[in-house]
């Protein structure tokens, strides 16, 4: 059987001009009429195969191929947009998470009741700071501003002085904001640039205010109004 296959292979490679020893193979076939006939039959099979009908492509073949191609550029733009939006959402969520954790680490005022302070926690509306500004304020900036060092220093001074300091700081920031806001609002949303250009002390003060109880907030607001009136 193996010998037969070798003979078939010999004839097959010979008619394809792929034999490694064509002269010897050709001589071997010529000496055997049966092999010579078999070679002729192989050639005939090939000839008929080449004459077989086969369908041509349809008239709109190329157009159909082009229609099936993936839209690479659109896909990339969509994927890039999705990545950017996802990254922005993750950054936002991370920033909010850091921000909400911060007040819990700040010690309460010595005169306040912890549970009452938690229930009567002042809202951010006292400072009229847009929510979006706070959300866009990144944790790295908080750390770089030295918030914890600032808080440690405030703990060592009387409460009244602290409130006055806070009021003065806030008043100066409000004045700076009033002078800059007209130009900024005509060019871009306030919250796009404000956190990056405003003095870090304002944010330190604002975060500290989150620890005040209602009485302290009331006192602070009185001082703030007086300070603003004189500005």
């Amino acid at each position: 059987m193996k010998t037969n296959h070798n003979i078939h292979e010999l004839i097959s490679t010979l008619i394809d001009n792929e034999s490694t020893s064509p002269k010897e193979d050709a001589a071997r076939i010529q000496d055997n009429p049966a092999l010579e006939k078999q070679q002729q039959q192989y050639r005939e099979i090939g000839r008929i195969i080449r004459t077989l009908d086969a369908p041509d492509p349809s008239g709109n073949f190329v157009e159909e191929v082009l229609a099936r191609l993936p839209q690479k550029k659109h896909y990339n733009v969509l994927r890039l947009s999705f990545t950017l939006v996802t990254a922005a959402i993750l950054l936002l969520a991370f920033s909010v998470g850091i921000y909400q954790l911060l007040p819990n680490k700040i010690p309460d005022s010595p005169n306040s009741d912890a549970s009452l302070a938690a229930i009567n926690m002042p809202t951010r509306m006292h400072l009229d700071v847009p929510e979006s500004v706070l959300l866009s304020f990144q944790a790295e900036i908080i750390r770089d501003n030295g918030l914890w060092e600032t808080l440690d220093r405030f703990e060592a001074i009387p409460e009244e002085s602290l409130l006055i300091t806070l009021a003065n700081m806030t008043a100066s920031e409000e004045a700076a904001y009033d002078s800059e806001s007209k130009e900024m609002l005509t060019t871009m949303p306030l919250w796009d640039t404000w956190p990056m250009t405003t003095s870090p002390s304002f944010f330190d003060a604002f975060l500290l205010l989150e620890t005040l109880n209602n009485a302290e907030v009331t006192a602070f607001n009185d001082l703030l109004r007086g300070s603003l009136a004189t500005t």
């Binding site: 296959h5 792929e18 039959q41 195969i49 077989l52 009908d53 191929v65 993936p70």
Partner: protein, 186 residues
């Protein structure tokens, strides 16, 4: 079949030139459709597989390297696509029937030789359908598309010795079939 600027067009297509890719499709649509038809026995399947082959070529544009003649690359894609199709749909054993149904729809350009040629062609096509996909593809690539052994080996991703062996076995199987059922075809 091989064109000297095939790889140049492929490079341009990889850079986003759709006209270059369209030229490649126009240039090779006919041999690829006919190869797929020989492999599947169905005109609609052949058209679909050929189109899918060009889509796969497009997706691989950035990974192609001009180490081999471009037709061997394209036929390799078409061959793999066709084999996947055959295996997934399990139509191999139903193709003889499809051939017999399709054959009367075809036309020939030489009416005088119709009767004799038709008988031989039908016998040969039936004989082709008795071959396994592995034996049929090597016979079609050699006899119908004229590839050399080394290029067939590239297309099939196998040694040249395997090509030589499969081709001899395919020819002998065809010969035996035609001698038995070929009504004097040989």
């Amino acid at each position: 079949m091989a064109e000297t600027d095939d790889w140049k067009l492929i490079t341009q297509a990889a850079g986003g030139d759709m006209n270059a890719f369209t030229r490649i499709v126009r240039r090779y649509q006919k041999p690829i459709v006919q190869f797929c038809y020989r492999m599947t026995g169905s005109q609609s399947d052949a058209e679909d597989i050929a189109q899918e082959s060009f889509v796969r070529l497009y997706k691989a544009l950035n990974r192609l390297r001009p180490d081999n003649p471009f037709p061997t690359v394209l036929f390799s894609i078409a061959r793999n696509t066709a084999l996947n199709h055959i295996r997934s749909t399990q139509r191999h054993y139903r193709r003889i029937k499809a051939y017999k149904e399709n054959y009367p729809k075809r036309s020939t350009t030489q009416p005088d030789k119709n009767a004799q040629t038709s008988d031989i062609a039908v016998a040969l096509e039936t004989a082709l359908e008795t071959l396994s996909p592995e034996h049929k593809e090597v016979l079609v690539l050699r006899e119908y598309h004229g590839f050399e052994y080394q290029h067939i080996a590239k297309i099939l991703a196998c040694p040249v010795g395997t090509v030589r062996s499969r081709l001899a076995r395919a020819r002998e199987q065809m010969r035996q079939h035609l001698m038995t059922y070929g009504k004097g075809a040989l």
